[in-house]
């Protein structure tokens, strides 16, 4: 038999790995046909919303809901007292702490959930909320974590024993009643000794400010308890639907088979939708109590003020080196502000996430990290906003320390990086803080980046600019921001990565239909990443059916195999690997079927794009389409009918994407406005599945990096009032502020991943934040600046110029 198309055309028809297949999701999203949780409308559905605390710290002496229950349309008002008999007035957090679902005698942050008003619609709920009378007795407010560790004010009485002693927390001994944990990595004494005796030491204190992922869609849920069948269906904005099902089962006592969790379309997560929130629990309880479906949807203010802040790390570093710039040691201490509850979404054994990747891309022989977690009167969270767990903080820390060291050494910061990079031949490389980096080729990437932007030319231009500025010829300074990052993603190996005991494997289940199309279901859930597009591409290449003939489905726990969800750039490293492995099982069975049909031995056929061919006789073949039909309909001796496979993939290691970013900006000294002239981003995410989607991810991640570096923050006043509760004050960049991004790549496949892919969604954010920040700081280096804290909004940049005496 002969084909009327060429092999190249057959490859093209698959739309497999490496092609810029257009996103299959976009037809519905761009036409307003997405199905988000707020689009779910069920018969008789009620609406619940919260009475929230206006105070950051107060005792609640009374809650009177009588008047609220008189409001037309109000059905019920739930308080902690109502939840207590069910054991649901508190819930476990992902960080081993517990959190009030509804205020149990006191509130710990402004906006905390005090009572849940259930009504026929949102308007009636709002009327009911106003009618609930809550008596507060204000308590002293502690917003500064350093003050918290000195304060007599006890934020969490529930964590102090009756005799006043402090029982251990989930992560060991606690030093003070507002202290949560101390977490250490590396070797303390050897590191201190290296630093104490070093030729050169640079020190810096930096604050990585509190911010928020602020996805376009806020959090929400719809709970529907079918009392006849005893089945609970819960729709919600869940980045980890299976984990939510297990947690709901564990805390409610409803058996897991009677709970169906569905994540419909999600309008951006960025870490905001990993955790479990009081709204989810209250919608479930309210549905059980009322027997009707209950919806809860945050408004923007609720979202910014109460669910899932990110960062808030006070970091102190010491880095030592020889006089010629070889780094010898790194010391890092973090005071981590967790707010009123420790609700970080990290793997359980890592209370500060993967902060211990803070040696970065450098061969640093000795290092030590200690993190102290602290309670304050701020909202809980500590999520990984577009990054793997605390990796933005780690990379920001090391990329700033490198710059500070370069200043101390009076050395070029690009050269300092180059002479300290881990060398290609050192991989797999075990870092001083314990991680085994799987692969990398940093020098190649760095040289490509520096050459592309003409780094030497830029430095010469910058030096001239400084002269011109001093001569009064210009009022604009030029900053060159450098950043070289190594991410650690793909959590993770079950041996050391779990959340509340749930191992962080992931899964894929494939069913091939008789006519040669397929459905694959995964334990992950797309929030805009384009899984339905890219996972079908992986499968197309693995099983030889066109991506356009493969449906990808995620998010329904009744149909999808168990997995830990989508965050920390883990979908491709873990579920993508499961997809490839399941595809290979399909292919193995297809090989047997093909051999049978072609009447040759199994080993005499080989896979070729979309078919199995007889070795040496390519005109004899069976296409995967033919094999699919045969698998069901042609009785093959010794082989079960059907063509299905499932794979649960426990990754042997994390993956370590890396990249080289360079930003060039001109800063108007008189106004503090930075004008980004150029942004070059080279990413190495291993094997590239869909270049167009990678580019989109890089653009998005860089834009969120720009936001965080240049103005986005969650700020509080001394009374614990959140000053950034709306988009009038919380900076969300749009096309207006975003520069043109130049993207580039190298490819260093992961040696342990089935297709060599590493994950990319978060790299641009991780690498972008220090790049923007370094550019701002670099502009002022010639005038004596070593470090200023983010966010570098116009005012703070102007203030830096002012403090350096540049306003005459």
């Amino acid at each position: 038999m002969k084909d009327d198309i060429t092999r190249d055309e057959r490859v093209e028809n698959l739309k497999g790995m490496g092609c810029s297949r257009k996103r299959v999701e976009d037809a519905r999203f761009t036409q307003g046909k997405g199905n988000y949780v707020d689009d779910i409308k069920l018969d008789g559905m009620l609406f619940g919303d919260f009475v929230r605390s206006p105070y950051a710290h107060a005792r609640i002496t009374n809650i009177d809901a009588a008047a609220a229950l008189e409001v037309p349309g109000v059905i019920a008002v739930l308080t902690a007292a109502d939840l207590e008999p069910l054991g649901l007035h508190w819930m476990p957090t992902l960080a081993g702490d517990k959190q009030m679902v509804l205020a149990d005698g006191k509130v710990l942050f402004q906006g905390q959930e005090v009572a849940f008003v259930v009504a026929e619609d949102r308007y009636a709920a709002a009327d009911g909320i106003e009618a609930v009378e809550v008596e507060y007795e204000e308590l002293p407010v502690v917003v500064d974590p350093f003050a918290a560790l000195q304060s007599d004010v006890v934020l969490r009485e529930d964590l102090v024993a009756e005799d006043g002693s402090l029982p251990d927390g989930a992560h060991g001994p606690r030093k003070h009643h507002n202290h949560i944990f101390t977490w250490e990595a590396g070797d303390k004494e050897p590191t201190e000794q290296v630093i104490d005796t070093a030729e050169v030491v640079a020190e810096e204190t930096m604050y990585y400010h509190r911010t928020h992922p602020c996805p376009l869609e806020t959090c929400g849920s719809v709970a529907s308890m079918d009392k006849v069948n005893g089945k609970l269906t819960l729709w919600g904005t869940f980045q980890a639907p299976h984990a939510i099902r297990t947690i709901v089962s564990l805390i409610s006592g409803i058996e897991e088979h009677n709970i169906r969790v569905i994540s419909p379309d999600i309008g951006g997560g960025f870490g905001n939708k990993v955790g479990a929130y009081p709204g989810y629990v209250c919608s479930v309880v309210a549905s059980i109590v009322t027997g009707k479906p209950v919806k809860w949807i945050e408004d923007r203010m609720d979202n910014l003020m109460t669910t899932a802040f990110a960062r808030d790390y006070h970091m102190t570093g010491k880095i030592s080196a020889t006089r010629d710039g070889k780094i010898t040691g790194l010391h890092c201490h973090v005071t981590a502000d967790h707010g009123g509850f420790d609700a970080c979404a990290d793997p359980t054994k890592f209370p500060a996430g993967f902060m211990n990747i803070c040696t970065g891309s450098y061969d640093i022989p000795t290092a030590y990290l200690a993190v102290d977690g602290v309670y304050t009167n701020k909202a809980p969270g500590g999520v990984s906003y577009r990054c793997s767990f605390r990796v933005t903080e780690a990379v920001y820390f090391i990329e700033r320390m490198i710059e500070v060291l370069a200043i101390k050494l009076n050395m070029d910061a690009a050269e300092l990086r180059r002479i300290n990079f881990i060398k290609k031949e050192q991989f797999p490389y075990t870092a001083a803080l314990g991680w085994e980096y799987d692969s990398g080729d940093y020098h190649t990437a760095w040289d490509k980046a520096l050459d592309t932007v003409d780094y030497k030319g830029l430095r010469a231009e910058q030096a001239q600019r400084v002269e011109d500025f001093k001569a009064g010829k210009t009022r604009k300074l030029m900053g060159i921001g450098l950043s070289f990052f190594t991410e650690i993603v793909g959590a993770g190996p079950v041996k050391n990565c779990d959340i509340l005991g749930l191992g962080m494997f992931d899964s894929c289940e494939i069913r091939i239909h008789p006519t040669g199309s397929a459905i694959a279901r995964l334990g992950t859930i797309s929030q805009g990443q384009g899984h339905a597009t890219t996972f079908a591409q992986i499968l197309a290449s693995e099983i030889g059916l066109p991506a356009d003939s493969i449906t990808i489905e995620e998010g329904d726990t009744d149909t999808a195999p168990y997995g830990l969800g989508t965050y920390g750039s883990r979908s491709t490293p873990v579920a993508g690997a499961a997809t490839a492995m399941a595809g290979r099982k399909i292919r193995a069975k297809a090989q047997m079927i093909a051999a049978y049909l072609l009447e040759v031995h199994d080993n005499d056929v080989e896979f070729d794009v979309d078919r199995f061919v007889v070795k040496g006789a390519p005109e004899r073949f069976k296409t995967m389409k033919e094999i699919a039909f045969a698998s069901y309909n042609q009785a093959i001796p010794g082989v079960e009918p059907g063509l299905e496979a499932v794979s649960y993939y426990d990754p042997p290691n994390m993956t370590y994407p890396f990249g080289a970013y360079i930003c060039v900006m001109d800063i108007d000294v008189d106004t503090g406005v930075p004008e980004i002239r150029r942004f070059y981003a080279l990413d190495d995410c291993g094997t590239r599945i869909n270049p167009m989607i990678i580019e989109g991810q890089v653009h998005g991640g860089l834009t969120e990096a720009l936001a965080v570096a240049l103005g986005q923050e969650i700020a509080y006043d001394d009374m614990g009032n959140c000053k950034t509760g709306t988009l009038m004050d919380f900076f969300l960049p749009t096309a207006w502020e975003v520069p043109n991004y130049e993207t580039d790549y190298t490819v260093t496949p992961s040696p342990h991943h089935p297709i060599g892919a590493k994950g990319v969604g978060e790299s641009p954010h991780v690498g972008g934040v220090p790049c923007f920040s370094n550019a701002v700081q670099d502009a002022f280096r010639a005038f004596g600046n070593t470090h200023t804290n983010m966010p570098h909004d116009h005012w703070r940049i102007w203030k830096t110029a002012s403090d350096l005496g540049l306003h005459g």
Binding site: F730, W736, W795
Partner: protein, 258 residues
């Protein structure tokens, strides 16, 4: 949002009558009022829309005078007013805001960070209401405070077209309101400098700058002039000193651009 009555009159007279009711509130383009209602920060008994009143529409230029209907949208001002004011209107909010928001609504609200007040102070404006004319210099009376009486409607504004003018807006990045905005207008009989966004007292004219520019209309004439930081606003986006400094910088830039 609380419940309210809604009226949609087609003439100024009908609107004035409808607004006579206690707790009635005029609704221009709703770009401030509607979000305020959604937050339940206002509870009018009745909203009286001014959007259907034909006599409050339109932008015209005649005999050196610019007249803008109180119901003209920012987009209409951006398309039809004299260039410096058109440029200002084109920088308000985003297209959705500009297609709904009106000049009359903005001036009646007198947000301290709004753009129009700087222009109205600089452009020798007259605020025309349903029953009188108010000189622009007398109209702005502090944050969200104006000379308008209860139930009074801005039906149009008139501005004298200057020899040259320029508006420099310094954008607060989150809201894109003016962190500071300076409108400089040059007339045969003198220079006027209107400033918005900066002062705790709302929009104001920078007298010292006007004096300096009257004798020498150049950025150099402003060297050494500085606003006192006391009396400026401060928030998370900028200190008093920053705002005072920006007024100076922007005024120079506006003069250079005229």
């Amino acid at each position: 949002m609380y419940n309210f009555e809604f009226e949609n009159p087609s003439s100024i007279a009908e609107a004035v009558a409808a607004l006579a009711e206690e707790e009635a509130q005029a609704l221009g383009g709703g770009q401030t009022l509607i979000p305020t209602l959604k937050q339940r920060l206002a509870m009018p008994s009745k909203l009286v829309s001014l959007a259907g009143i034909a006599e409050m529409k339109g932008v015209s230029i005649a005999d050196g005078m610019l007249t803008i209907g109180g119901g003209a949208t920012h987009a209409e001002v951006a398309a039809e007013a004299c260039p410096p004011l058109a440029a200002l209107a084109g920088q308000i909010g985003d297209p959705a805001v500009r297609n709904r928001g009106t000049i009359g609504g903005s001036l009646a609200n007198n947000d301290p960070a709004a753009d129009y007040p700087a222009a109205m102070l600089a452009l020798k404006s007259t605020i025309v209401t349903n029953n009188r004319e108010i000189a622009g210099d007398d109209y702005f009376q502090g944050l969200f405070e104006t000379a308008l009486e209860e139930g009074e409607i801005i039906t149009s504004v008139r501005c004298e077209i200057p020899e040259g003018a320029n508006y420099q807006k310094f954008v607060q990045p989150a809201s894109r309101f003016a962190l500071v905005g300076v409108f400089v207008a040059k007339y045969a009989d003198g220079v006027r400098v209107g400033v918005t966004g900066a002062s705790e007292e709302g929009a104001f004219r920078w007298d010292e700058a006007e004096v300096a520019l009257n004798s020498n209309f150049s950025a150099a004439a402003l060297e050494g002039l500085a606003l006192d930081a006391e009396g400026m606003m401060a928030d998370i986006h900028g200190s008093k000193a920053y705002r005072a400094h920006l007024v100076g910088v922007l005024t120079k830039r506006a003069v250079s651009a005229v």
